[in-house]
Symmetry: C2
Subunit: 321 residues, 2 copies
């Protein structure tokens, strides 16, 4: 009898713990809508969705981890410029690489799409896929965010980590669908987000198959293959997943088409936007921002009753402690 | 689906009873090598592979289902020509569509890559992704193989269905990696092979995002986006999965690069080729065949000790009864 009571109290404790799967979320509307949605689609009834169809998609930059003062992958590219120039000395005197080498902040601030694309392509190519993974791993293990001095893999949002784990434990297949490079994100997606490589969808460079002494190699080339942003996101979801997600989270206009694509199931889907309005603990930016502009998608959120997560008031914690 | 569930429940029973998981395979070297491999990678020890890394890739045409007298998807395209011409009457007098409409066998036999590509693109585009799935479903539910009068979904290989189910029950994630169209294969991959849409990789047409009265649509365009054949297969495996498979099966030179790509793990991987040498129960063709030519990959199989499955002697049954 004593044992039985003990077991019941342990189980009750577990149930209680299960009742709050989102400890870093303020006990308000956002948390309630998420828990209600997950409860509804996992409980037999009208809104029930079989596990195989529980597809959840998340943007990465600004949705799962921070994106200020500049996209972390762009910081990786800038950090890699010296190594690329060492391999190809002619670049030392060529724009935009010369400005990066000289830390010419004025010139760098004036970089447009063309210069950034040049830097991204040169620093992300010219080696095998295995070698690139090694290069990214070496960077991510040592690089630190200029503002917080934390490793970039700790610049992730604790409430979103809890949401990912909650969904994974509830039978969801969680995907990243990001404008970031797929090979870049795969180096940390599994250990940081619990998202395996086959569930990471992103932008990609051209990759060429070749053989060296009969051994196959995949070589990354300095050309874009796919940009997984805006209209590209639903296209990529269709190509890679072939199902319509029932949950989608983004934070910027680059996610608008993905959010609309997932918003096709009435009460049986949840569409969310992370709104950066916490200048004290993170950053505050939306309609006028150069990085992560949130303008049209914020209007759409109002019209379509999407869940706008207010970082300042909905999140008790922003980054992992 | 019912058939698949039945097969899995029979196999579960067989595994539980310690019986043969591959009842349609002759008790010979092929069956032994498969069972030894699966046992080794799932049993704690030197060859053990964690479930997350148990990736198995299969070609489709000629590996999981038949491909004679012509690729089934090409038959679908030919069957769809009248509907395409009805929508676009100008095509009725234009080659190669006029030859198809007139059933001009001589002209059709002379079709080259250009004519076949034209027919494939015109019959696979000009509608939304949802509409295309409906069109394929309607065809696959009614069309019959010209030689056997069976539905195409019954022109699958019973021993390969057993292998797929055996791997799935052993913690493998099974993928199709085929030159066939990804949207075409997804209509039946789950119910026939137990392979969900997100684990189907194939060739694809260009897809364009648009909105009609605020509702998102993906429109299939008459242009190729990716050919998942030869060098394309390792490229696609890297892009979609991001891991190196530990088991790969193909049947033709179009699979050679994929088989080499997977053949990187010594005793811990299994590379197999289905050899069509059974003119009585299926078809017999290899080095000189127009469809499914198996020449260089057969040489490689000998050099690299890949498993060549001899359809005639290794399989007790070819098609499901």
């Amino acid at each position: 009898m004593l044992f039985k009571l003990l077991l019941i109290s342990i189980l009750l404790g577990a149930l209680k713990a299960n009742a709050d799967p989102l400890p870093s979320w303020h006990d308000g509307e956002a948390r309630t809508r998420i828990i209600d949605f997950v409860t509804n689609v996992t409980t037999p009834g009208e809104a029930y969705v079989p596990p195989a169809e529980r597809i959840a998609v998340f943007d990465n930059d600004g949705t799962l981890w921070a994106e200020q003062p500049l996209y972390f992958q762009l910081q990786f590219a800038l950090d890699r410029v010296p190594a690329v120039v060492a391999d190809n000395p002619a670049l030392a005197k060529t724009p935009p690489f010369n400005s990066v080498l000289k830390h010419d902040r004025e010139a760098m601030a004036a970089f447009g799409h063309k210069e950034i694309a040049q830097i991204l392509l040169q620093t992300h190519s010219g080696m095998t896929t295995d070698e690139f993974a090694d290069v990214v791993n070496a960077w991510i293990d040592t690089a630190r965010h200029p503002g917080t001095d934390r490793p970039y893999t700790e610049m992730v949002y604790q409430p979103m980590l809890e949401l990912l784990a909650f969904l994974q434990l509830s039978g969801f297949k969680t995907y990243i669908v990001s404008g970031g490079g797929v090979a870049f994100m795969r180096t940390f997606s599994e250990r940081v987000y619990g998202i395996p490589p086959e569930q990471v969808i992103g932008s990609s460079v051209q990759v060429e198959y070749t053989e060296v002494e009969g051994q196959p190699r995949l070589i990354r080339k300095p050309g874009l293959s796919f940009i997984d942003d805006k209209e590209g996101k639903p296209v990529a979801i269709n190509l890679h997943i072939g199902r319509i997600p029932i949950l989608a989270f983004g934070n910027s206009d680059g996610d608008l088409q993905m959010l609309k694509w997932a918003d096709r199931c009435g009460e049986n889907c949840l569409i969310g936007i992370v709104h950066h309005n916490d200048a004290e603990r993170e950053w505050a930016y939306d309609r006028d921002s150069h990085i992560g502009r949130l303008d049209k998608a914020l209007d759409a959120a109002g019209e379509r009753r999407w869940l706008v997560v207010d970082m300042k008031s909905d999140w008790l914690t922003v980054f992992p402690r």
